[in-house]
């Protein structure tokens, strides 16, 4: 038997994405410890990291961080392949689609808060759609939509403000 060595070359991009993903996972884990009035209503602090990556390094990196965060984050909190994982994935995929469009908006007039809000609404939209199609095949899930939309409005704004502030500070350093 010959000993073969498989070498995976690690680029600087990989390291950067891994670092941001680690920060996002840490926020996911910290957030999982917070009590929530309704399952599914969470601040989504990890999305601050995704926003910062999006605005500094572009959509491709943001997509990596977001999806790695969902997979690794749910692995850490023991949710992998549980319904919550698929809901998180549906939210992440739909908000990435929104981010793809939102980042094309003229940066002169639209900042992180706009991008964050659009992503937050897309996030709950994707989750409600998956919940309607798969978990609760009844229009009753849309009864909860106003609550989720309120959470998206509040946390989308706050996360956007935090991301805007982080980026402004980084750029002035």
């Amino acid at each position: 038997m010959t000993l073969s060595v498989i070498e995976l070359p690690v680029t600087e991009d990989d390291r950067r994405i891994a670092r941001y993903t680690a920060a996002a996972i840490a926020l996911t884990v910290a957030e999982a410890a917070l009590p929530s009035p309704l399952p599914g209503i969470k601040p989504g602090l990890a999305n601050i990291v995704v926003l910062v990556v999006l605005l500094r390094y572009g959509w491709r990196d943001a997509a990596w961080v977001s999806l790695l965060r969902v997979v690794a984050g749910s692995l850490v909190i023991g949710q992998l392949f549980a319904p919550g994982f698929f809901l998180a994935l549906a939210g992440a995929v739909s908000s990435l689609a929104a981010l793809f469009l939102a980042v094309q908006l003229p940066r002169r007039w639209f900042g992180a808060v706009t991008i964050s809000l659009l992503a937050a609404f897309a996030h709950i939209g994707g989750q409600l759609l998956l919940a309607r199609l798969w978990l609760v095949p009844h229009d009753g899930v849309f009864y909860l939509a106003p609550l989720f939309a309120t959470a998206a409005l509040i946390f989308g704004t706050i996360n956007g403000l935090i991301a805007a502030r982080l980026i402004m500070q980084v750029e002035t350093i």
């Binding site: 950067r16 670092r19 941001y20 680690a22 920060a23 910062v52 500094r56 908006l105 003229p106 002169r108 007039w109 639209f110 900042g111 992180a112 808060v113 706009t114 809000l117 659009l118 609404f121 849309f142 009864y143 939509a145 106003p146 939309a149 309120t150 409005l153 989308g156 704004t157 956007g160 403000l161 805007a164 502030r165 982080l166 402004m168 500070q169 980084v170 350093i173």
Partner: protein, 144 residues
Amino acid sequence: MKAVLPEDLREVFSKAGYSGSWHKYLKVGDWLVLFLSCALVVLSYTLLWRGGVADRAIVKRDGQTIIEISLNSASKTRVEGPLGTTVIEVQPGRARVFSDPGPRQYCVQQGWLTRAGAVAICAPNHITLELNGRGEARYDSLGY
């Protein structure tokens, strides 16, 4: 631990004491999107949570609708049944059986009905009062 953090986040944390007002992070378009988002959220409540609100009272005798009364304004309506006159009172957003000739007065004691789908039945006089909301009724009846 610190070495693991991305460079820029570490720099941000090192400036934790930094403070400033938040509105400088909002651009013109951000305000616009924020305003539209608030409108959207309010709209979602009014559209999706209106279902339980009643907007008209339906009075039936022997299962046949005799009269439909809007819950927008106060009124009293007299309905004749086999035993005598049942009086239906409507106020904005609610309705009740004000009086009934039936022996046990169940439908009168039920008091004000406010939710869509709620029903008061005056069986001896063959009269029922029910509330209806917009769209299709979600319950056959609602009792307390």
